[in-house]
Amino acid sequence: MESATPRLTVTQREQWEVDAKVSEIYQFFSSLPHHAQTIMLELRRDKHLEFLTKGLRQLGPSFSVLDANRAWLCYWILHSIALLGESVDSELENRVIDFINLCQDPSGGYAGGPGQMPHLATTYAAVNSLITLGGQRAFSSINRDKMRIFLLRMKQPSGAFRMHDAGEIDVRACYTAISVASILKILDYELVQNVGDYILSCQTYEGGIAGEPGAEAHGGYTFCGMATMILMNEAGRLDLPSLINWVAFRQGVECGFQGRANKLVDGCYSFWQGGVFALIQRLPSLMDQESRSSEVEENQTSGNIRTASSTLSEQECSSELTSSDDDETSHFGDGEHSDIGFCFIKRHAELEPLFHSIALQQYLLLCSQVQEGGFRDKPGKHRDYYHTCYCLSGLSVCQYSWSKRADSSPLPRAVLGPYSNLLEPIHPLFNIVLDKYYEAHDFF
């Protein structure tokens, strides 16, 4: 290497530039006295709320490019507000319900805006928004019968889902479909059939999951694929040791996560990658995984799939999920899998976090947080609602990552900065604030 040309490649140059910006921030931080450091680590709650509420009430013309993502804007904003432990007033709440209802298609599912076609991603965003609001009016506005018809219409013979009529097929579509069906308790064998095979075909040689078979392992799709598999009780079919190894390596010197190997850090992966660790912590028989890792490799195609997550049903939810038969389809009698998400979150975390949760909080608070409110991808970028939502979600994951129970208050040492930084806990399979999830679970 010494004798080779000193010219940096594009990857090296870009990485070097980000490194420099981030280390400058960390160096400045470490030069400060303790009380000043505490202030710098403070979550700017009021500023974030101001930024979020403003967007809910009015957006400028530059948001026209997100005109087909207004249901997403609702979710990003409402979920962020809920993470901060706040809620919108009843007037605004009713306005949200009415608006989202205008996005609901008469034939089922939700569009990105009024008058557009229903789309799986915006359906996920709309349903999660309504659950985040909570209450009878929000819940009962969802047409679940039509929703099931819409989801089945998006389902392909291969098992995977399309985003919309004649739309693209990928792992995102699978996750958003299965997540919505699970939380609305309409998940059944017909919807689940062969989805697992598709997700498996997207796990790459690197260990992570890609958007489509053959593509590159990617943080967003890894979360979507992993969460989908858990919701269907099939996580044990994945090569979990290599998946965990890949995700663990995505946390870099900047303390945040990158989405892919040799790519730049981005605050939104605090949730997409960090959230995978929250999922892993509640996979019961993972402790045996490592010793079985060679078996997994050899049995990948041999149909030996009753592994990690099936134990979950056996131990804690045996009444809901009978699994005495070796045939995996026997788990999937109608109405049975809707409680997988519930059983999952009721379990105690068996593992300590396998990532560096304090380092990640440092990146989020010092590099992603914008003092005027909102969060950004990385220093030098502008804030936006997407990054605000996923940076806050990742921050919540970090803060509760040492808690055995999903809803117990963390110890002060788990929370970087003042304890007032503490956010609400989430249900990591759906990325919905936990209390809101329970309310929906009781309702449907």
Binding site: M1, T9, V10, Q12, G55, L56, R57, Q58, G60, P61, S64, V65, L66, D67, A68, R70, L73, I77, R95, D98, F99, L102, G113, P114, G115, Q116, M117, H119, H164, D165, E168, T204, Y205, E206, G211, E212, A215, E216, I244, N245, F249, Q251, G252, V253, C255, R260, A261, N262, M287, Q289, E290, S291, S294, E297, E298, Q300, E352, L354, F355, H356
Partner: protein, 331 residues
């Protein structure tokens, strides 16, 4: 659009649109996340809604979708309707490629553009192969890691063919930037799926040789390490049985501690590698000479080393240590 902005004639003043009654967006009386649309945007979408609701699949509707897409390439409904029109009118799809290319210029990271491109290419069949390979090359020359472009390219290869030069293309991109993980992924895609190469078993030997060379030049690059491991995917026996792999770990580690080499070595040990004395002494050399624990196994030593050498992942390595398969603890 930018340069045309001043010259744009509103639909309401275009004679060919005089018969159409624009349909405003139904946002309800008190919408949330309302967008303060520019008048041009609002009017274009009002006319779009009119033809969409009337299902008017005419040349003027097609032109209208072009304008709407130029203003917001993320509107999947407009793209979808455009495809319906193209089908109905049986339009010559060659022009469609230019249209997409123009839109992609300002935003090449958008699901809709690429989905549309795939649809058009599929309609054209093998006639589109070279054009699509060229188009993705062009996009990748601007951003060599564009996820959508790579997915499209993989689809083209699988659906239409054109594998002949793909391995050379990967090599070229890797020569430009050996850290380009997307190019490594594409290389894996080619060697495992190209109908011209005989698959992984036929390619493994030469690929292992190439990858090891690359790693020795720069052991701090994660991509070739993962690629090397991938060459033995589903065949742990071959991984453990290939002396080149453990030899590589040893070579790298004899210079200094390296997370990727130790990670691979740990993998080898978990899969049953019986370490020889040389390997043991290389690892020994990296640990503090006064090892406090009583003769721990090599796998435990590797985990401990990683805990200190790679503090960002110390929790992960600690977990690996307590979950080591029992057979590794005796070695």
């Amino acid at each position: 659009m930018d340069s045309d902005e001043d010259e744009r004639i509103p639909f309401s003043q275009r004679p060919e649109w005089s018969d159409i009654k624009p349909v405003p967006q139904d946002d309800g009386p008190n919408p949330v996340v309302p967008i303060a649309y520019h008048e041009d945007f609002r009017e274009t979408m009002d006319y779009f809604r009119a033809v969409y609701l009337a299902d008017e699949r005419t040349p003027r509707s097609l032109r209208l979708t072009s304008e709407a897409i130029a203003m917001n390439a993320g509107n999947y409904t407009v793209w979808h309707f455009r495809r319906l029109i193209l089908e109905t009118l049986n339009t010559d799809l060659h022009e469609e490629f230019d249209f997409i290319e123009n839109i992609a210029k300002s935003n090449s990271k958008n699901y809709q553009i690429w989905h549309h491109r795939r649809w058009v290419a599929e309609k054209m069949g093998t006639e589109a192969t070279n054009m699509e390979l060229k188009f993705t090359r062009k996009i990748l020359s601007l951003d060599a890691k564009n996820y959508h472009a790579w997915s499209h390219r993989q689809w083209v290869l699988q659906a239409l063919g054109g594998w002949e030069d793909e391995l050379d293309y990967c090599l070229q991109l890797l020569e430009e930037d050996i850290y380009n993980n997307s190019a490594w992924n594409q290389r894996y895609f080619v060697i495992t799926r190209s109908p011209l190469l005989g698959g992984l078993p036929a390619m493994r030997e030469s690929e292992v040789r190439y990858t090891i060379e690359v790693i020795l030049l720069n052991p701090d690059n994660e991509s070739p390490w993962r690629y090397l491991r991938g060459l033995y995917k589903g065949d742990a026996e071959a991984l453990v049985g290939d002396p080149q792999v453990s030899c590589l770990c040893m070579k790298v580690l004899s210079v200094r501690g390296n997370t990727f080499a130790l990670n691979l070595l740990l993998d080898l040990l978990c899969h049953g590698l019986q370490p020889n004395g040389e390997l043991k002494s290389v690892v020994e050399g990296l640990t503090n000479s006064e090892s406090d624990s009583i003769d721990p196994s090599l796998a435990i030593k590797v985990c401990s080393l990683l805990e200190t050498l790679d503090p960002m992942r110390s929790n992960y390595w600690a977990w690996r240590k307590v979950t080591l398969p029992s057979h590794t603890k005796a070695i």
